[in-house]
Symmetry: C2
Subunit: 291 residues, 2 copies
Protein backbone atom coordinates (compact mmCIF):
# COMPACT_ATOMS: atom_id res chain seq x y z
CA UNK A 1 0.00 0.00 0.00
CA UNK A 2 1.31 3.40 -0.97
CA UNK A 3 0.00 6.68 0.38
CA UNK A 4 -0.41 9.29 -2.36
CA UNK A 5 1.39 12.32 -1.04
CA UNK A 6 -0.56 15.25 -2.44
CA UNK A 7 1.51 17.77 -0.50
CA UNK A 8 4.74 16.49 -2.03
CA UNK A 9 3.35 16.41 -5.57
CA UNK A 10 1.86 19.89 -5.12
CA UNK A 11 5.23 21.26 -3.94
CA UNK A 12 6.96 19.62 -6.89
CA UNK A 13 4.51 21.14 -9.38
CA UNK A 14 4.89 24.53 -7.74
CA UNK A 15 8.66 24.28 -8.29
CA UNK A 16 8.08 23.37 -11.94
CA UNK A 17 5.72 26.32 -12.39
CA UNK A 18 8.19 28.69 -10.67
CA UNK A 19 10.97 27.53 -13.02
CA UNK A 20 8.67 28.04 -16.02
CA UNK A 21 7.78 31.55 -14.84
CA UNK A 22 11.44 32.50 -14.46
CA UNK A 23 12.05 31.22 -17.98
CA UNK A 24 9.16 33.35 -19.29
CA UNK A 25 10.49 36.41 -17.48
CA UNK A 26 14.02 35.76 -18.81
CA UNK A 27 12.50 35.71 -22.31
CA UNK A 28 11.06 39.17 -21.68
CA UNK A 29 7.50 37.98 -21.13
CA UNK A 30 5.39 39.28 -18.30
CA UNK A 31 4.63 37.26 -15.18
CA UNK A 32 1.28 35.42 -15.18
CA UNK A 33 -1.29 37.51 -13.36
CA UNK A 34 -4.21 36.06 -11.40
CA UNK A 35 -6.98 38.20 -9.94
CA UNK A 36 -9.22 36.93 -7.16
CA UNK A 37 -12.54 38.53 -6.30
CA UNK A 38 -13.89 37.94 -2.81
CA UNK A 39 -17.25 39.12 -1.53
CA UNK A 40 -17.96 39.48 2.19
CA UNK A 41 -16.09 37.94 5.13
CA UNK A 42 -16.83 34.22 5.14
CA UNK A 43 -14.03 32.67 7.19
CA UNK A 44 -13.46 29.72 4.87
CA UNK A 45 -13.42 31.93 1.78
CA UNK A 46 -10.95 34.37 3.32
CA UNK A 47 -8.61 31.51 4.22
CA UNK A 48 -8.82 30.02 0.72
CA UNK A 49 -8.20 33.36 -0.95
CA UNK A 50 -5.22 34.06 1.34
CA UNK A 51 -3.76 30.67 0.34
CA UNK A 52 -4.28 31.42 -3.34
CA UNK A 53 -2.58 34.80 -3.10
CA UNK A 54 0.31 33.28 -1.14
CA UNK A 55 0.71 30.47 -3.67
CA UNK A 56 0.89 33.00 -6.49
CA UNK A 57 3.79 34.68 -4.74
CA UNK A 58 5.51 31.31 -4.24
CA UNK A 59 5.57 30.57 -7.98
CA UNK A 60 6.36 34.12 -9.10
CA UNK A 61 2.88 35.10 -10.34
CA UNK A 62 1.51 38.58 -9.91
CA UNK A 63 -1.79 38.49 -8.03
CA UNK A 64 -4.52 41.01 -7.31
CA UNK A 65 -7.08 40.54 -4.59
CA UNK A 66 -10.31 42.48 -5.08
CA UNK A 67 -12.51 42.55 -1.98
CA UNK A 68 -16.13 43.65 -1.91
CA UNK A 69 -18.36 44.00 1.11
CA UNK A 70 -21.33 41.63 1.04
CA UNK A 71 -23.55 44.61 0.33
CA UNK A 72 -22.12 44.83 -3.20
CA UNK A 73 -24.83 44.65 -5.87
CA UNK A 74 -24.88 42.08 -8.64
CA UNK A 75 -24.49 44.91 -11.16
CA UNK A 76 -21.37 46.24 -9.46
CA UNK A 77 -19.86 42.75 -9.40
CA UNK A 78 -20.71 42.17 -13.08
CA UNK A 79 -19.11 45.52 -13.94
CA UNK A 80 -15.89 44.48 -12.22
CA UNK A 81 -15.94 41.17 -14.10
CA UNK A 82 -16.37 43.02 -17.36
CA UNK A 83 -13.42 45.23 -16.45
CA UNK A 84 -11.23 42.20 -15.72
CA UNK A 85 -12.35 40.52 -18.95
CA UNK A 86 -11.00 43.53 -20.82
CA UNK A 87 -7.89 44.11 -18.71
CA UNK A 88 -5.00 42.89 -20.88
CA UNK A 89 -2.72 42.56 -17.87
CA UNK A 90 -4.97 39.97 -16.19
CA UNK A 91 -4.44 36.45 -17.57
CA UNK A 92 -7.06 34.76 -15.48
CA UNK A 93 -9.40 35.49 -12.59
CA UNK A 94 -11.81 33.79 -10.25
CA UNK A 95 -14.74 34.81 -8.11
CA UNK A 96 -14.49 33.01 -4.78
CA UNK A 97 -17.71 31.11 -4.06
CA UNK A 98 -20.14 31.07 -2.33
CA UNK A 99 -21.63 34.50 -3.01
CA UNK A 100 -24.30 36.27 -0.91
CA UNK A 101 -27.84 35.15 -1.67
CA UNK A 102 -28.83 38.33 -3.52
CA UNK A 103 -26.26 37.60 -6.24
CA UNK A 104 -26.93 34.99 -8.95
CA UNK A 105 -23.83 32.78 -8.91
CA UNK A 106 -24.50 31.21 -12.28
CA UNK A 107 -24.90 34.64 -13.89
CA UNK A 108 -21.58 35.70 -12.38
CA UNK A 109 -19.81 32.54 -13.60
CA UNK A 110 -21.18 33.01 -17.12
CA UNK A 111 -20.11 36.66 -17.19
CA UNK A 112 -16.44 35.63 -16.99
CA UNK A 113 -14.67 35.42 -20.36
CA UNK A 114 -14.14 31.66 -20.67
CA UNK A 115 -10.57 32.29 -21.81
CA UNK A 116 -9.87 33.82 -18.37
CA UNK A 117 -12.05 31.35 -16.43
CA UNK A 118 -9.20 29.57 -14.60
CA UNK A 119 -11.69 28.01 -12.17
CA UNK A 120 -13.14 26.12 -15.14
CA UNK A 121 -16.75 26.67 -14.04
CA UNK A 122 -17.98 28.43 -17.23
CA UNK A 123 -20.31 26.20 -19.30
CA UNK A 124 -17.96 26.59 -22.29
CA UNK A 125 -15.14 25.03 -20.31
CA UNK A 126 -17.40 22.32 -18.88
CA UNK A 127 -18.67 21.54 -22.39
CA UNK A 128 -15.22 21.56 -23.99
CA UNK A 129 -13.98 19.18 -21.30
CA UNK A 130 -16.83 16.77 -22.00
CA UNK A 131 -16.18 16.92 -25.75
CA UNK A 132 -12.45 16.40 -25.13
CA UNK A 133 -11.25 19.81 -26.36
CA UNK A 134 -8.55 21.98 -24.73
CA UNK A 135 -10.08 23.88 -21.81
CA UNK A 136 -9.65 24.92 -18.21
CA UNK A 137 -10.57 21.98 -15.98
CA UNK A 138 -11.79 22.87 -12.51
CA UNK A 139 -9.38 22.48 -9.61
CA UNK A 140 -10.39 19.28 -7.83
CA UNK A 141 -10.91 16.99 -10.86
CA UNK A 142 -7.76 18.39 -12.42
CA UNK A 143 -5.83 17.69 -9.21
CA UNK A 144 -7.07 14.09 -9.09
CA UNK A 145 -6.04 13.48 -12.69
CA UNK A 146 -2.59 14.91 -11.97
CA UNK A 147 -2.13 12.66 -8.93
CA UNK A 148 -3.00 9.58 -11.01
CA UNK A 149 -0.54 10.73 -13.66
CA UNK A 150 2.34 11.46 -11.28
CA UNK A 151 1.91 8.11 -9.52
CA UNK A 152 1.63 6.39 -12.92
CA UNK A 153 -1.52 4.58 -11.81
CA UNK A 154 -2.98 2.46 -14.63
CA UNK A 155 -6.49 3.59 -15.60
CA UNK A 156 -7.17 2.20 -19.08
CA UNK A 157 -9.98 -0.35 -18.97
CA UNK A 158 -10.15 -0.11 -15.18
CA UNK A 159 -13.52 0.20 -13.46
CA UNK A 160 -13.64 3.62 -11.85
CA UNK A 161 -16.52 4.25 -9.45
CA UNK A 162 -17.29 7.88 -8.64
CA UNK A 163 -19.44 8.43 -5.53
CA UNK A 164 -21.16 11.80 -5.81
CA UNK A 165 -22.46 13.76 -8.80
CA UNK A 166 -21.75 17.38 -7.89
CA UNK A 167 -21.02 19.86 -10.66
CA UNK A 168 -17.60 20.65 -9.22
CA UNK A 169 -16.28 17.13 -8.57
CA UNK A 170 -18.41 14.09 -9.38
CA UNK A 171 -19.65 14.94 -12.87
CA UNK A 172 -16.39 16.44 -14.19
CA UNK A 173 -14.11 13.70 -12.80
CA UNK A 174 -16.47 11.09 -14.31
CA UNK A 175 -16.24 12.90 -17.64
CA UNK A 176 -12.46 13.02 -17.48
CA UNK A 177 -12.04 9.38 -16.47
CA UNK A 178 -14.04 8.19 -19.51
CA UNK A 179 -12.06 10.25 -22.06
CA UNK A 180 -9.90 8.31 -24.52
CA UNK A 181 -6.60 9.41 -22.97
CA UNK A 182 -4.33 8.80 -20.00
CA UNK A 183 -5.27 9.21 -17.18
CA UNK A 184 -8.69 8.10 -18.32
CA UNK A 185 -10.02 5.47 -20.73
CA UNK A 186 -11.71 3.82 -17.76
CA UNK A 187 -15.13 2.23 -17.48
CA UNK A 188 -16.88 4.78 -15.28
CA UNK A 189 -19.82 4.33 -12.91
CA UNK A 190 -21.37 7.36 -11.23
CA UNK A 191 -23.14 6.58 -7.94
CA UNK A 192 -25.13 8.92 -5.71
CA UNK A 193 -27.84 9.15 -3.07
CA UNK A 194 -30.30 7.17 -5.22
CA UNK A 195 -27.91 4.32 -5.97
CA UNK A 196 -28.97 0.88 -4.81
CA UNK A 197 -26.41 -1.84 -3.94
CA UNK A 198 -23.60 0.71 -3.68
CA UNK A 199 -21.50 -1.76 -1.72
CA UNK A 200 -21.63 -4.31 -4.53
CA UNK A 201 -20.70 -1.65 -7.12
CA UNK A 202 -17.78 -0.41 -5.00
CA UNK A 203 -16.53 -3.97 -4.55
CA UNK A 204 -16.19 -4.25 -8.33
CA UNK A 205 -14.15 -1.03 -8.55
CA UNK A 206 -10.45 -0.83 -9.38
CA UNK A 207 -10.51 2.88 -8.59
CA UNK A 208 -12.95 4.62 -6.22
CA UNK A 209 -13.26 8.39 -6.15
CA UNK A 210 -15.26 9.32 -3.07
CA UNK A 211 -16.77 12.80 -3.33
CA UNK A 212 -20.00 12.75 -1.40
CA UNK A 213 -19.04 14.76 1.69
CA UNK A 214 -19.97 12.15 4.30
CA UNK A 215 -17.21 11.53 6.88
CA UNK A 216 -15.70 8.02 6.86
CA UNK A 217 -18.52 6.79 4.61
CA UNK A 218 -16.45 4.29 2.61
CA UNK A 219 -15.74 1.25 4.80
CA UNK A 220 -13.32 -1.62 4.33
CA UNK A 221 -16.09 -4.07 3.41
CA UNK A 222 -16.89 -1.88 0.36
CA UNK A 223 -13.38 -2.02 -1.09
CA UNK A 224 -11.71 -4.84 -2.95
CA UNK A 225 -8.12 -5.85 -2.29
CA UNK A 226 -5.66 -3.72 -4.29
CA UNK A 227 -8.08 -0.90 -5.16
CA UNK A 228 -6.97 2.69 -5.68
CA UNK A 229 -8.82 5.10 -3.38
CA UNK A 230 -9.09 8.84 -4.00
CA UNK A 231 -10.73 10.66 -1.11
CA UNK A 232 -12.18 14.06 -1.98
CA UNK A 233 -14.09 14.56 1.28
CA UNK A 234 -13.11 17.44 3.56
CA UNK A 235 -15.73 17.68 6.26
CA UNK A 236 -14.85 19.74 9.33
CA UNK A 237 -15.31 17.70 12.50
CA UNK A 238 -15.19 19.36 15.92
CA UNK A 239 -11.99 18.38 17.68
CA UNK A 240 -10.70 19.39 21.12
CA UNK A 241 -7.03 18.67 20.45
CA UNK A 242 -6.41 21.06 17.56
CA UNK A 243 -5.87 24.79 17.85
CA UNK A 244 -8.61 25.54 15.31
CA UNK A 245 -11.10 23.41 17.25
CA UNK A 246 -11.78 21.11 14.30
CA UNK A 247 -10.11 18.57 12.08
CA UNK A 248 -10.69 17.60 8.45
CA UNK A 249 -12.30 14.24 7.85
CA UNK A 250 -12.42 12.50 4.48
CA UNK A 251 -15.15 10.33 2.97
CA UNK A 252 -13.05 7.22 3.54
CA UNK A 253 -12.56 5.28 6.78
CA UNK A 254 -8.82 5.60 6.17
CA UNK A 255 -7.58 3.52 9.08
CA UNK A 256 -9.47 0.40 8.02
CA UNK A 257 -9.54 0.91 4.26
CA UNK A 258 -5.87 1.80 3.73
CA UNK A 259 -4.45 -1.69 4.44
CA UNK A 260 -6.53 -3.14 1.55
CA UNK A 261 -5.49 -0.56 -1.06
CA UNK A 262 -2.71 -0.36 -3.59
CA UNK A 263 -2.85 3.46 -3.40
CA UNK A 264 -4.82 5.83 -1.20
CA UNK A 265 -4.97 9.58 -0.67
CA UNK A 266 -5.00 10.78 2.95
CA UNK A 267 -7.13 13.66 4.29
CA UNK A 268 -5.59 16.13 4.77
CA UNK A 269 -2.58 15.99 2.45
CA UNK A 270 -4.09 14.14 -0.50
CA UNK A 271 -6.34 15.83 -3.03
CA UNK A 272 -6.57 19.08 -1.04
CA UNK A 273 -3.08 20.48 -1.70
CA UNK A 274 -3.55 19.78 -5.42
CA UNK A 275 -6.49 22.13 -5.86
CA UNK A 276 -4.57 25.40 -5.58
CA UNK A 277 -1.87 23.92 -7.80
CA UNK A 278 -4.53 23.23 -10.44
CA UNK A 279 -5.53 26.89 -10.30
CA UNK A 280 -1.90 27.92 -10.73
CA UNK A 281 -1.50 25.55 -13.68
CA UNK A 282 -4.61 26.98 -15.34
CA UNK A 283 -3.33 30.52 -14.82
CA UNK A 284 0.04 29.61 -16.35
CA UNK A 285 -1.78 28.06 -19.32
CA UNK A 286 -3.92 31.19 -19.70
CA UNK A 287 -0.81 33.36 -19.65
CA UNK A 288 0.90 31.19 -22.28
CA UNK A 289 -2.14 31.40 -24.55
CA UNK A 290 -2.18 35.18 -24.27
CA UNK A 291 1.49 35.80 -25.06
CA UNK B 1 -42.43 -7.28 -23.34
CA UNK B 2 -43.49 -4.02 -24.92
CA UNK B 3 -41.99 -2.58 -28.08
CA UNK B 4 -41.33 1.13 -27.77
CA UNK B 5 -42.94 2.64 -30.83
CA UNK B 6 -40.75 5.61 -31.70
CA UNK B 7 -42.67 6.32 -34.87
CA UNK B 8 -45.97 6.61 -32.98
CA UNK B 9 -44.48 8.84 -30.26
CA UNK B 10 -42.78 11.00 -32.87
CA UNK B 11 -46.07 11.46 -34.75
CA UNK B 12 -47.83 12.34 -31.52
CA UNK B 13 -45.21 14.95 -30.61
CA UNK B 14 -45.39 16.40 -34.11
CA UNK B 15 -49.16 16.83 -33.63
CA UNK B 16 -48.54 18.55 -30.30
CA UNK B 17 -45.98 20.88 -31.88
CA UNK B 18 -48.31 21.64 -34.79
CA UNK B 19 -51.09 22.55 -32.34
CA UNK B 20 -48.68 24.77 -30.40
CA UNK B 21 -47.61 26.53 -33.60
CA UNK B 22 -51.20 27.22 -34.59
CA UNK B 23 -51.80 28.67 -31.14
CA UNK B 24 -48.75 30.91 -31.53
CA UNK B 25 -49.91 32.08 -34.95
CA UNK B 26 -53.42 32.73 -33.61
CA UNK B 27 -51.81 34.92 -30.94
CA UNK B 28 -50.16 36.96 -33.68
CA UNK B 29 -46.71 35.47 -33.23
CA UNK B 30 -44.58 34.39 -36.14
CA UNK B 31 -44.06 30.75 -37.08
CA UNK B 32 -40.84 29.16 -35.76
CA UNK B 33 -38.20 29.34 -38.46
CA UNK B 34 -35.44 26.74 -38.86
CA UNK B 35 -32.57 27.17 -41.31
CA UNK B 36 -30.49 24.20 -42.45
CA UNK B 37 -27.10 24.58 -44.08
CA UNK B 38 -25.89 21.71 -46.23
CA UNK B 39 -22.49 21.51 -47.89
CA UNK B 40 -21.87 19.21 -50.88
CA UNK B 41 -23.92 16.26 -52.09
CA UNK B 42 -23.44 13.45 -49.57
CA UNK B 43 -26.39 11.11 -50.13
CA UNK B 44 -27.09 10.53 -46.44
CA UNK B 45 -26.89 14.25 -45.63
CA UNK B 46 -29.23 15.19 -48.48
CA UNK B 47 -31.78 12.64 -47.28
CA UNK B 48 -31.58 13.85 -43.67
CA UNK B 49 -31.93 17.48 -44.70
CA UNK B 50 -34.91 16.68 -46.94
CA UNK B 51 -36.57 14.93 -43.97
CA UNK B 52 -35.90 17.91 -41.72
CA UNK B 53 -37.36 20.37 -44.22
CA UNK B 54 -40.40 18.13 -44.72
CA UNK B 55 -40.92 17.77 -40.97
CA UNK B 56 -40.85 21.54 -40.57
CA UNK B 57 -43.69 21.81 -43.09
CA UNK B 58 -45.66 19.11 -41.25
CA UNK B 59 -45.66 21.07 -37.99
CA UNK B 60 -46.17 24.50 -39.54
CA UNK B 61 -42.60 25.82 -39.18
CA UNK B 62 -41.00 28.01 -41.80
CA UNK B 63 -37.77 26.44 -43.04
CA UNK B 64 -34.90 27.65 -45.19
CA UNK B 65 -32.45 25.31 -46.84
CA UNK B 66 -29.09 26.85 -47.69
CA UNK B 67 -26.98 24.67 -49.98
CA UNK B 68 -23.28 25.18 -50.67
CA UNK B 69 -21.10 23.26 -53.09
CA UNK B 70 -18.31 21.35 -51.36
CA UNK B 71 -15.88 23.88 -52.76
CA UNK B 72 -17.19 26.50 -50.32
CA UNK B 73 -14.43 27.97 -48.17
CA UNK B 74 -14.48 27.92 -44.39
CA UNK B 75 -14.61 31.72 -44.40
CA UNK B 76 -17.69 31.78 -46.65
CA UNK B 77 -19.41 29.26 -44.39
CA UNK B 78 -18.53 31.24 -41.26
CA UNK B 79 -19.87 34.41 -42.89
CA UNK B 80 -23.19 32.70 -43.58
CA UNK B 81 -23.32 31.50 -39.96
CA UNK B 82 -22.67 35.03 -38.76
CA UNK B 83 -25.48 36.25 -41.00
CA UNK B 84 -27.89 33.67 -39.58
CA UNK B 85 -26.81 34.52 -36.02
CA UNK B 86 -27.91 38.09 -36.68
CA UNK B 87 -31.01 37.33 -38.72
CA UNK B 88 -33.91 38.08 -36.37
CA UNK B 89 -36.30 35.99 -38.46
CA UNK B 90 -34.29 32.78 -37.90
CA UNK B 91 -35.02 31.14 -34.54
CA UNK B 92 -32.55 28.30 -34.87
CA UNK B 93 -30.28 26.75 -37.45
CA UNK B 94 -28.04 23.77 -38.00
CA UNK B 95 -25.11 22.90 -40.20
CA UNK B 96 -25.58 19.35 -41.46
CA UNK B 97 -22.50 17.23 -40.64
CA UNK B 98 -20.11 15.87 -41.82
CA UNK B 99 -18.38 18.76 -43.59
CA UNK B 100 -15.65 18.48 -46.26
CA UNK B 101 -12.17 17.92 -44.83
CA UNK B 102 -10.94 21.44 -45.57
CA UNK B 103 -13.47 22.89 -43.13
CA UNK B 104 -12.91 22.74 -39.36
CA UNK B 105 -16.17 21.29 -38.00
CA UNK B 106 -15.49 22.33 -34.42
CA UNK B 107 -14.83 25.91 -35.51
CA UNK B 108 -18.11 25.92 -37.43
CA UNK B 109 -20.05 24.53 -34.45
CA UNK B 110 -18.57 27.13 -32.12
CA UNK B 111 -19.38 29.95 -34.54
CA UNK B 112 -23.11 29.32 -34.10
CA UNK B 113 -24.80 31.53 -31.51
CA UNK B 114 -25.57 28.98 -28.78
CA UNK B 115 -29.07 30.48 -28.43
CA UNK B 116 -29.76 29.36 -32.02
CA UNK B 117 -27.81 26.07 -31.76
CA UNK B 118 -30.82 23.74 -32.01
CA UNK B 119 -28.50 20.79 -32.72
CA UNK B 120 -27.11 21.27 -29.18
CA UNK B 121 -23.50 20.70 -30.28
CA UNK B 122 -22.06 24.03 -29.06
CA UNK B 123 -19.85 23.61 -25.96
CA UNK B 124 -22.07 26.06 -24.07
CA UNK B 125 -25.06 23.78 -24.57
CA UNK B 126 -23.02 20.65 -23.76
CA UNK B 127 -21.71 22.34 -20.59
CA UNK B 128 -25.12 23.68 -19.52
CA UNK B 129 -26.60 20.20 -19.96
CA UNK B 130 -23.90 18.69 -17.74
CA UNK B 131 -24.44 21.36 -15.08
CA UNK B 132 -28.21 20.81 -15.30
CA UNK B 133 -29.13 24.24 -16.70
CA UNK B 134 -31.73 24.95 -19.43
CA UNK B 135 -30.14 24.29 -22.82
CA UNK B 136 -30.59 22.68 -26.21
CA UNK B 137 -29.95 18.95 -25.87
CA UNK B 138 -28.75 17.18 -29.01
CA UNK B 139 -31.25 15.14 -30.97
CA UNK B 140 -30.52 11.51 -30.13
CA UNK B 141 -30.08 11.81 -26.34
CA UNK B 142 -33.09 14.11 -26.19
CA UNK B 143 -35.13 11.57 -28.17
CA UNK B 144 -34.16 8.75 -25.81
CA UNK B 145 -35.15 10.78 -22.74
CA UNK B 146 -38.50 11.59 -24.34
CA UNK B 147 -39.20 7.92 -25.10
CA UNK B 148 -38.47 6.98 -21.48
CA UNK B 149 -40.79 9.76 -20.34
CA UNK B 150 -43.66 8.92 -22.68
CA UNK B 151 -43.53 5.23 -21.74
CA UNK B 152 -43.26 6.21 -18.07
CA UNK B 153 -40.28 3.91 -17.58
CA UNK B 154 -38.90 4.13 -14.02
CA UNK B 155 -35.30 5.35 -13.97
CA UNK B 156 -34.63 6.60 -10.43
CA UNK B 157 -32.00 4.46 -8.74
CA UNK B 158 -31.92 2.08 -11.71
CA UNK B 159 -28.58 0.94 -13.10
CA UNK B 160 -28.25 2.39 -16.58
CA UNK B 161 -25.41 1.05 -18.71
CA UNK B 162 -24.42 3.14 -21.71
CA UNK B 163 -22.33 1.33 -24.33
CA UNK B 164 -20.37 3.88 -26.34
CA UNK B 165 -18.84 7.24 -25.39
CA UNK B 166 -19.33 9.37 -28.49
CA UNK B 167 -19.82 13.10 -28.13
CA UNK B 168 -23.21 12.96 -29.82
CA UNK B 169 -24.77 10.02 -27.99
CA UNK B 170 -22.84 8.16 -25.28
CA UNK B 171 -21.46 11.04 -23.23
CA UNK B 172 -24.57 13.25 -23.34
CA UNK B 173 -27.06 10.46 -22.59
CA UNK B 174 -24.86 9.36 -19.67
CA UNK B 175 -24.87 12.94 -18.41
CA UNK B 176 -28.64 13.18 -18.72
CA UNK B 177 -29.33 9.85 -17.03
CA UNK B 178 -27.35 10.86 -13.94
CA UNK B 179 -29.12 14.23 -13.46
CA UNK B 180 -31.34 14.59 -10.41
CA UNK B 181 -34.60 14.61 -12.39
CA UNK B 182 -36.98 12.32 -14.24
CA UNK B 183 -36.07 10.67 -16.58
CA UNK B 184 -32.69 10.35 -14.91
CA UNK B 185 -31.50 9.94 -11.32
CA UNK B 186 -30.01 6.61 -12.39
CA UNK B 187 -26.71 5.01 -11.42
CA UNK B 188 -24.86 5.30 -14.72
CA UNK B 189 -22.02 3.19 -16.10
CA UNK B 190 -20.31 4.21 -19.34
CA UNK B 191 -18.69 1.31 -21.21
CA UNK B 192 -16.59 1.42 -24.39
CA UNK B 193 -13.96 -0.38 -26.42
CA UNK B 194 -11.59 -0.58 -23.44
CA UNK B 195 -14.15 -2.02 -21.04
CA UNK B 196 -13.37 -5.42 -19.58
CA UNK B 197 -16.16 -7.82 -18.47
CA UNK B 198 -18.77 -5.91 -20.45
CA UNK B 199 -21.08 -8.91 -20.30
CA UNK B 200 -21.07 -8.93 -16.50
CA UNK B 201 -21.72 -5.18 -16.39
CA UNK B 202 -24.60 -5.46 -18.87
CA UNK B 203 -26.11 -8.31 -16.85
CA UNK B 204 -26.36 -5.96 -13.87
CA UNK B 205 -28.16 -3.30 -15.92
CA UNK B 206 -31.82 -2.35 -15.52
CA UNK B 207 -31.52 -0.12 -18.59
CA UNK B 208 -29.04 -0.59 -21.45
CA UNK B 209 -28.47 2.14 -24.01
CA UNK B 210 -26.48 0.62 -26.88
CA UNK B 211 -24.74 3.27 -28.97
CA UNK B 212 -21.56 1.72 -30.28
CA UNK B 213 -22.45 1.21 -33.94
CA UNK B 214 -21.80 -2.53 -34.12
CA UNK B 215 -24.65 -4.52 -35.69
CA UNK B 216 -26.39 -7.01 -33.37
CA UNK B 217 -23.62 -6.63 -30.79
CA UNK B 218 -25.81 -6.98 -27.70
CA UNK B 219 -26.79 -10.64 -27.30
CA UNK B 220 -29.39 -12.30 -25.10
CA UNK B 221 -26.74 -13.67 -22.71
CA UNK B 222 -25.73 -10.07 -21.88
CA UNK B 223 -29.21 -8.97 -20.82
CA UNK B 224 -31.02 -9.71 -17.59
CA UNK B 225 -34.68 -10.64 -17.49
CA UNK B 226 -36.92 -7.55 -17.52
CA UNK B 227 -34.31 -5.06 -18.67
CA UNK B 228 -35.15 -1.97 -20.73
CA UNK B 229 -33.20 -1.84 -23.99
CA UNK B 230 -32.65 1.32 -26.02
CA UNK B 231 -30.97 0.63 -29.36
CA UNK B 232 -29.26 3.63 -30.93
CA UNK B 233 -27.40 1.68 -33.64
CA UNK B 234 -28.24 2.39 -37.27
CA UNK B 235 -25.66 0.56 -39.37
CA UNK B 236 -26.48 0.11 -43.05
CA UNK B 237 -26.25 -3.56 -44.01
CA UNK B 238 -26.33 -4.60 -47.69
CA UNK B 239 -29.63 -6.28 -48.43
CA UNK B 240 -30.93 -7.73 -51.69
CA UNK B 241 -34.62 -7.56 -50.81
CA UNK B 242 -35.00 -3.83 -50.26
CA UNK B 243 -35.32 -1.19 -52.96
CA UNK B 244 -32.43 0.84 -51.52
CA UNK B 245 -30.13 -2.19 -51.47
CA UNK B 246 -29.56 -1.99 -47.75
CA UNK B 247 -31.35 -2.28 -44.45
CA UNK B 248 -30.76 -0.61 -41.07
CA UNK B 249 -29.36 -2.83 -38.36
CA UNK B 250 -29.29 -1.86 -34.68
CA UNK B 251 -26.68 -2.67 -32.05
CA UNK B 252 -29.01 -5.19 -30.45
CA UNK B 253 -29.72 -8.75 -31.57
CA UNK B 254 -33.41 -7.85 -31.42
CA UNK B 255 -34.88 -11.26 -32.24
CA UNK B 256 -33.19 -12.98 -29.32
CA UNK B 257 -32.96 -10.09 -26.85
CA UNK B 258 -36.55 -8.84 -27.16
CA UNK B 259 -38.23 -11.81 -25.39
CA UNK B 260 -36.19 -11.09 -22.22
CA UNK B 261 -36.97 -7.36 -22.02
CA UNK B 262 -39.66 -5.33 -20.35
CA UNK B 263 -39.27 -2.63 -23.03
CA UNK B 264 -37.18 -2.49 -26.20
CA UNK B 265 -36.80 -0.08 -29.11
CA UNK B 266 -36.77 -1.61 -32.60
CA UNK B 267 -34.49 -0.52 -35.46
CA UNK B 268 -35.85 1.09 -37.50
CA UNK B 269 -38.81 2.74 -35.78
CA UNK B 270 -37.37 3.24 -32.29
CA UNK B 271 -34.94 6.04 -31.49
CA UNK B 272 -34.53 7.09 -35.14
CA UNK B 273 -37.89 8.82 -35.68
CA UNK B 274 -37.37 10.74 -32.43
CA UNK B 275 -34.25 12.59 -33.60
CA UNK B 276 -35.96 14.95 -36.04
CA UNK B 277 -38.70 15.51 -33.47
CA UNK B 278 -36.02 16.58 -30.98
CA UNK B 279 -34.77 19.13 -33.51
CA UNK B 280 -38.31 20.44 -33.95
CA UNK B 281 -38.80 20.69 -30.19
CA UNK B 282 -35.54 22.63 -29.84
CA UNK B 283 -36.59 24.99 -32.62
CA UNK B 284 -39.97 25.57 -30.98
CA UNK B 285 -38.17 26.27 -27.68
CA UNK B 286 -35.82 28.70 -29.45
CA UNK B 287 -38.77 30.50 -31.01
CA UNK B 288 -40.55 30.75 -27.65
CA UNK B 289 -37.45 32.23 -26.03
CA UNK B 290 -37.16 34.82 -28.76
CA UNK B 291 -40.75 36.07 -28.70
Amino acid sequence: MEIIDGKKVADQIKSEIAAEVEKMVAEGKKRPHLAVIIVGHDGGSETYVAHKVKSCAQVGFTSTKIAFEDTVTETELLEKINELNNDTDIDGFIVQLPLPKHIDEQKVIEAIDYRKDVDGFHPVNVGRMSIGLPCFVSATPSGIIELLRRYEIPTQGKHCVVIGRSNIVGKPIANLMMQKTYPGDATVTVCHSRTRNLKEICLSADIIIAALGSPAFLKEDMVKEGAVIIDVGTTRIPCSTTKSGFRLCGDVDFEHVAPKCSYITPVPGGVGPMTIVSLLRNTLQAARQRQ
